[in-house]
Symmetry: C2
Subunit: 396 residues, 2 copies
């Protein structure tokens, strides 16, 4: 029996975008890892998580290992609501859903809002997991370019205006990472934030604000879209992956109770009591504001090391955005094919992610690559960029 | 803005089945809990999980707290494959997907195989979470009755034959819990197992075998459908929820590499490295065959206590199946409305789940209720059934 024949059309289509095993090459073990969006190993609180689990299980025994029962599940929700409030977003208990990372939140939003006819607007480039998720639901995806001031809202407005004039369907959803964007590291200006909210009202779409990196500002912070949102159009997605540990899989979304109820209904992996309760205890025992200072100081410093190495080792034709927070630097190597160049780069012992993976039309990413300063140590970063400079120099 | 208007039709339909907050009443704290399908608290290995997390984090530090990196993620997969092999099922690495419990596995299978036109056959009654999941994808659900020998495969055959004769669409999927079924506790006979596999071949459908309770046999064990499957029609779903701890959320599915690849592609919550690695260490440190003996002895004994209390305290008109494993006893109270009766039962201090929640057409469940012997202690079970006997006696 050919099981392929039992897949419905939309599933067959989604799978065609994804032949098994097609991905960036394996990274050699001794390679300097500038590709991965992992937190710095020294900032991952393994000792603290161990202590949290010990204290949790000694206090509650079987409760956090059952389906429900641990009061810490609700506590975690309260802790996240409190933190959002400190940051300027007020949500009630029924307006927040804990998810397994931001990616599950995005998937649930797509699940309840998109069908095959729906149109989604995304940033170009954007988070590759989100790109995969949206393509699983619809093939009608509109890419809006990002520049150093974030999403180009004037381009978005032009497209919306034109579609309206022509009587074409308008997007149901805009997905944006306004702050320290993945992969470009750029931040949407306040003016553009106001503009995009105005457009959402005028053209009647919802905005998914992916704020996975929002806490990691090196200097000043801007108001989040959800803070500025007057008409309940923003679904705010957050995560502890970048500021505590991705392996715990704790993320969330905040939106209207109607949207949250719908997402909760379609979330069929149930709660994750053990991970959630352990995270709650960890947060209770942690001075989070102090931790954030350490995180920001560390990543600010690592970013500065990367930028100064780029200035020193990269040929003049290469260019990049200087981020004000987050994990990433986006680089352009004019005339290069960064996918092919990766082979030499890995041979030299430094990794990155080729730009093509962040675009709907992969050809748009040929000259770009994403560097991450989050994971590697400062000396490694400098040495990695020195090697990359050699690769780029030889390649141009 | 009315966000409801942005839900596509199929989502609106699924949500109409589920008005917010409609569920069984809150269970008072001092109530004897015969409703919940939780493992016995004394069998939940909180000490061992604490030790596993300690040992894991001392050995691997940040690795299990990152996205990938811990070798224990792969190890867990190997451990599950090894256990399946001991039980008679051979699967390769690419034929197994670790999921967040059996429920996520069922949801992913529905996601890749069902569209709104698809027909699913289910047991009646069946696992309520599975019922909810299938209704999220299609409204074409065919209920096949279960008796004390499990799924009535002759009824299934009649329906298939008739649909074929009339030129109607045939089911794409049959969902069954052949062993120690939820909620009836019944087990499909070997003869019926062979019959259903033959029907799958003849009428070209896939079988989802939910084996969440399969390890918990009180006496002899039967071959699983996946063991008997000659034509790759069985997707085997399993879980550590009932034999280790549900709060860790470790389940799996085994099927063709094509199906597993598709499910993995649509699984967008990523791996759960911390929970998976901790579970792997727990399994390494545990003599699982010994643990299974304890589990089976405990539940066999608790089941016997429940059955003997039923014989002692329930009026003659009530009837039930005597299970040979698992967690549940299914009871019929002729003429009763078990939903209404629950109010009195909770007032008397004993809980159960009204039968209606396990049926597509809830009216079919009016006279039934599910009792669980897994969670409450033996004395509590006896006292709970004494109280239930009073409630049923007064109600009839």
């Amino acid at each position: 029996m050919n099981a392929g024949s039992v897949f419905p059309d939309n599933i067959q289509k989604a799978l065609r975008n994804n032949p098994p095993g097609e991905w960036i090459p394996e990274i050699p073990k001794d390679c300097i890892r500038l590709h991965c969006g992992y937190p710095a190993p020294a900032l991952v609180p393994d000792e603290e998580v161990k202590a949290a689990v010990k204290s949790l299980l000694e206090e509650e025994h079987d409760l956090p290992l059952l389906y429900i029962g641990s009061p810490k599940i609700l506590k975690l929700k309260e802790q996240i609501i409190t933190r959002l409030k400190e940051r300027g977003i007020s949500v009630a208990e029924e307006e927040l859903l804990i998810t397994s990372g931001a990616s599950q939140a995005i998937d649930l939003i797509a699940r309840i809002l998109l069908d095959e006819e729906a149109i989604v607007a995304i940033e170009s480039p954007t988070y590759m997991e989100a790109l995969e998720i949206f393509q699983n639901y619809t093939s009608h995806i509109i890419s809006i370019p990002v520049d150093k001031q974030g999403l180009q809202t004037d381009v978005l407005e032009e497209i919306l205006k034109e579609r309206k004039q022509k009587g074409l369907t308008l997007p149901r959803l805009l997905y944006t990472i306004p702050t320290f964007q993945n992969p470009t590291g750029t931040t949407m200006t306040e003016e553009r934030r106001q503009h995009v909210l105005m457009l959402a009202d005028r053209y009647n779409f919802l905005i998914v604000e992916d704020d996975a990196y929002g806490e990691l500002s090196f200097n000043k912070r801007l108001a989040m879209l959800k803070e500025m949102d007057q008409s309940s159009r923003v679904l705010h997605v957050g995560s502890l992956s970048k500021i505590v540990a991705p392996g715990m899989r704790i993320g969330w979304m905040a939106g209207t109770s109607q949207i949250i109820h719908a997402c909760a209904w379609f979330k069929k992996d149930l709660n994750h009591p053990f991970a959630q309760a352990a995270m709650s205890v960890y947060l209770t025992k942690t001075d989070f504001n102090k931790k954030l200072v350490t995180l920001r100081d560390t990543y600010r410093s690592k970013c500065a090391v990367l930028i100064s190495a780029l200035e020193k080792y990269l040929p003049e034709s290469a260019s990049w955005y200087v981020p004000e927070g987050g994990y990433f630097v986006w680089m352009k190597v004019p005339g290069a094919d960064t996918s092919k160049m990766l082979t030499q780069s890995l041979a030299e012992g430094v990794s990155y992610i080729p730009g093509k993976y962040f675009f709907m039309d992969q050809a748009d990413g040929t000259e770009f690559l994403r560097l991450s300063f989050s994971y590697a140590g400062e000396k490694e970063i400098t040495e990695g960029i020195r090697r990359l400079g050699r690769v780029v120099g030889a390649y141009l």
